[in-house]
Amino acid sequence: MLSVFGILSPNDGWSEINGKIAVQSVPGAIGAMVARKQFAAADGEPKEKRKAGYWGTIFLMAVGAMYLSLNVVATEEAVLISYRMSPWHGVILVMLSLAVLHGLVYSVGLAGSKEPEKEGFWPLFAFYTLAGYAVSVLSVAYLLWTFGYITGVGATDLAMPVAVISFPAALGAATSRLIL
């Protein structure tokens, strides 16, 4: 596909070609997983209901966070947006991310988790919302490092893009049940 769109050309170096393929293989792999689930459901096969367990849930949240944030990090726009923001914008965005993540955790529920209403507000917030935000932040930090955005930057310039991209990442983590 990269060749069809003219992104890979014979003039590219091996390291460039490898890098482009490696970057695209992550969403490609998740896409294959989603397709498998969709087609399996379409074929009317009996769905194997399996509880993912806590670590399984956290893993799925990480995959969901990675899936959405990879699409954002690959463009420069999100990092650009972070340069325009003041520290107060950053504080509000973190709060908003937690609120949206918690709202989705509460209303949609998570893959493999128990019914949200049985957990209570604070346990659900601590064990799923904060945990989901943690995996989002770590996934985003890893991706930003991979794309070379957080090499040689100060604390604010590390925290701000992480906070900005953790917003879609948190959405991805919370909706991993829908995506995967």
């Binding site: 806590y54 973190v94 601590a126 904060l130 932040v137 100060g154 604010t156």
Partner: protein, 139 residues
């Protein structure tokens, strides 16, 4: 023991096993949120000047087919990101400018260190090299 009892027993065992994991992940999330918000609040109350403060330092000279490449380290110690930062280097012999070269950095975020290359046809070691930041866009 019925199947239901067995499955609830398994679930309870699993909950007990994962209780450390629950606390660990909640703690990790709490620490990360506190760290991110802490950095923002520190920056918000520090109240330094809101302008880029750019320090240009020549790091090395390499001879290549294109000419002499001077690697310039650009540090932004200010509180603002400089976008499309134009830096210019000049080789001077006394007051006479022998050659100039310029480069544009896409971004120099606040608190960051970036690197740029200036290409000269004359050997920079034979002249006095001066570096200047000429201008930038505000993102």
């Amino acid at each position: 023991m019925t199947d239901d009892d067995q499955s609830s027993e398994t679930q309870r065992e699993q909950d007990e096993h994962t209780s450390f994991g629950h606390i660990f992940m909640a703690g990790l999330g709490g620490v990360l949120v506190a760290a991110i918000i802490g950095v923002f609040l520190y920056e918000a109350f520090r109240g330094a000047t809101k302008a880029p403060e750019l320090i240009l330092t020549p790091r090395s000279v390499t001879q290549s087919a294109a000419g002499y490449i001077v690697q310039v380290e650009v540090r932004n110690r200010g509180k603002r990101t400089a976008q499309a930062l134009n830096i210019e280097g000049a080789l001077k012999d006394g007051q006479r400018v022998v050659e100039t070269s310029s480069a544009t950095l896409a971004y120099a975020p606040d608190g960051s260190t970036r690197s740029a290359g200036l290409i000269f046809q004359n050997d920079p070691d034979r002249y006095r090299l001066t570096l200047e930041a000429k201008g930038y866009d505000q993102p």
